[in-house]
């Protein structure tokens, strides 16, 4: 059937062709209509996606090569790579890069561990499974800004229930390291359920028979987990890690509400926003945009190398 292009079918068609040569024109007529329909159906989505991403990213490369400050529009001129030199020699930028990397690594690692535990609980529990799944979806669905305000007020002296539990001293959110820990807490709370759901999908692929066989062979719970489940779940784990890492890397909402980037807690997204919207410096803002884009591309590339053939992008749809 022309609808799918499973590879075996292609091979079969090619092998059969010498014998069934006269079928070919008919087939290609159908193929033509199918291609046309396919392209027509895809066109609106493709056009919007490319118009709103490709063109602006090219434009931001162009903007990044100019001195362009909306406060001094008359002094706009082409300055080559000067903006890159400015940004890459700025201690604020490097601080933001470190903050972002540390936040990303720490929260993704915690999420992976907690998410795995949560996935196992959701997968195995028999009583109250519906309640557990429903309530874990709330952190996933809740507006990040809302959750961030909840954490902020929890740590606000006098208002919050958590503010008193730490030893006296400056309020938690006004010191760099404690504030970043609260940011990690907020991130972990919000996104662990998502991680758990992705991992649970991986868990569902582990055949019960295999686990039973392993336990008959004398494997204990940990061995069953490490030797049987983890290898089967590897693709799911990598997908979850990729999505969460790239998502954590663009952290903005939580930081905006919790610290507004004060005390050197800016992430790269926060710093870009401040330069662009608060500072109205389009040249510098665009330079940072381009640099962030490059960093994300590198992370994605590394992950996709790790994925090998398991990358979601290599799944070309029609395959079963």
């Amino acid at each position: 059937m022309s609808g799918t292009t499973t590879e075996p079918a292609d091979v079969a068609a090619r092998a059969v062709r010498p014998a069934g040569e006269k079928d070919k024109p008919v087939l290609s007529e159908g193929k033509k209509a199918e291609r046309k329909l396919g392209l027509m159906l895809v066109a609106p989505a493709a056009i919007v996606m490319i118009a709103v991403t490709a063109w602006p990213i090219i434009y931001s490369v162009w903007l990044s090569l100019q001195r362009y400050d909306l406060k001094f529009p008359d002094r706009t001129e082409f300055v080559g790579l000067d903006n890159y030199v400015t940004v890459l020699t700025s201690e604020y930028w490097w601080n933001a890069v470190w903050v972002t990397v540390v936040l990303t690594v720490v929260s993704v690692v915690i999420e992976l561990v907690l998410g795995m535990a949560l996935a196992l609980i959701m997968h195995r529990t028999l009583v109250g499974r519906g309640i557990v799944r429903t309530s874990t979806l709330i952190p996933y669905g809740i507006v990040t800004v809302v959750a961030a305000f909840s954490w902020r007020y929890a740590w606000t002296p006098q208002t919050g229930y958590l503010a008193e539990i730490v030893a006296s001293g400056d309020p938690v959110l006004t010191q760099k390291i404690p504030a970043l820990m609260v940011v990690v807490l907020a991130e972990v709370w919000k996104t662990t359920p998502f991680m758990a759901l992705l991992l649970m999908a991986g868990l569902a692929l582990v055949p019960d028979d295999l686990l039973r066989a392993a336990s008959m062979d004398g494997a204990n719970a940990w061995q069953r987990f490490a030797k049987v489940m983890l290898p089967i779940m590897k693709p799911a784990i990598l997908v979850a890690l990729l999505f969460r890492t790239l998502d954590a890397f663009r952290i903005f909402d939580n930081l905006f509400v919790l610290t507004a980037g004060s005390q050197g807690t800016s992430s790269v997204s926060m710093l870009t926003y401040n330069n662009l919207i608060r500072g109205l410096n389009l040249g510098i803002g665009s330079t940072m945009s381009v640099l962030i884009f490059i960093m994300v591309a590198v992370i994605a590339f590394v992950f996709i190398k790790l994925f090998g053939t398991a990358a979601p992008g290599s799944d070309d749809g029609g395959k079963r």
């Binding site: 609808g3 209509a33 199918e34 329909l37 392209l39 159906l41 895809v42 989505a45 919007v48 709103v52 991403t53 990213i57 931001s60 609980i121 997968h123 195995r124 529990t125 009583v127 309640i131 979806l137 709330i138 669905g141 507006v143 990040t144 800004v145 809302v146 305000f149 909840s150 007020y153 929890a154 006098q158 919050g160 709370w189 359920p193 998502f194 759901l197 992705l198 999908a201 039973r212 799911a236 990729l242 999505f243 509400v257 790269v268 997204s269 926003y273 662009l276 919207i277 389009l282 665009s286 945009s289 962030i292 884009f293 960093m295 979601p312 992008g313 799944d315 070309d316 749809g317 029609g318």
Partner: protein, 281 residues
């Protein structure tokens, strides 16, 4: 499940019960806290108690009396609904083509949408800010709807093509056998079968649009198009000496209500939708 056949002892049940309770409390604690704040009276707002000592609806009455909040709520609802509708329609068309048809550039499209899903959104903020200002789209509904559609499309395409692959093949084949064109097969046979998947995708896309903060704060400047998450962060209280905590908490609860409803009624679908796109089905 893989438990010991039938020997579900009481101790075991208790253990699972405790674990489940921990998970539920973990998930609900911050939500209950912000709800509690929203019901506290101005006098007890700073008593640090987890449960309000005096219950009041004043905070809600206050925010619904301001155009700042009401307008933002209308913006949020309007923008999210329009963006969701368009993204789901375009996404459905594209996902059908990806799941069912053979055409040149299919791999490229899947690759591009994966790229966009991973795209650092802040990288788009600078150029979009400038482009939208010159096109007169800055601080308008379309100015937000466009980027929302763009970032919702990969999500829609992935989720939907996973759903579409589950649809029984034979029906489409039978329809074509009966003389339906591929287009008719799409409208008459596949579309009704795909409706649940489309609906689930719509929920996920709506949550995404409803949640956005970065675009909303960067590409708007007035009440005209500010959405609730942004309006929240600008709340200052009705006079500058008033603490906005109560208003922020109340507004936060209001925009959490749709999420809670989705989760309560469509838990199964949301789980299926989130997991289907991520792991090869």
């Amino acid at each position: 499940m893989a438990g010991v056949g039938g020997a579900e002892t009481t101790a075991r049940k208790v253990r699972w019960g405790v674990l489940n309770a921990v998970v539920v409390i973990y998930a609900l604690f911050p939500v209950l806290w912000i709800a509690s704040l929203s019901f506290k009276s101005a006098a007890t707002l700073t008593d640090g108690n987890f449960v309000p000592r005096e219950w009041t609806l004043d905070n809600y009455a206050n925010i619904f009396a301001t155009t700042e909040f009401v307008r933002a709520l209308l913006n949020s609802i309007g923008i999210a609904l329009i963006a969701t509708t368009i993204a789901v329609v375009f996404g459905t068309m594209a996902a059908y083509a990806i799941a069912r048809l053979d055409f040149p550039g299919k791999k490229l499209l899947v690759g591009v949408s994966l790229l966009i899903a991973m795209f650092p959104q802040v990288s788009l903020v600078s150029p979009l800010f400038e482009i939208e200002r010159s096109l007169g789209l800055f601080d308008t509904w379309p100015g937000l709807i466009l980027p929302y559609i763009t970032f919702a499309l990969p999500l829609a395409i992935y989720t939907l093509s996973a759903f579409f692959r589950e649809i029984p093949w034979e029906l489409e084949k039978a329809a074509k056998m009966d003389g339906a064109t591929p287009g008719q097969a799409f409208r008459r046979v596949i579309a009704p079968l795909a409706a649940p998947g489309v609906f689930t995708t719509a929920i996920l896309v709506f949550i995404f649009c409803w949640n956005d903060f970065l675009f909303a704060i960067s590409l708007t400047s007035t009440e005209r198009s500010r959405t609730v998450p942004v309006a929240l962060s600008f709340f200052t209280g009705s006079s500058q000496f008033e603490d906005p905590t109560g208003s922020i908490a109340a507004a936060a609860v209001v925009i959490t209500i749709p999420i809670i409803l989705f989760v309560l009624f469509f838990q199964r679908r949301i789980v299926a939708g989130l997991t289907s796109g991520a792991v090869k089905g």
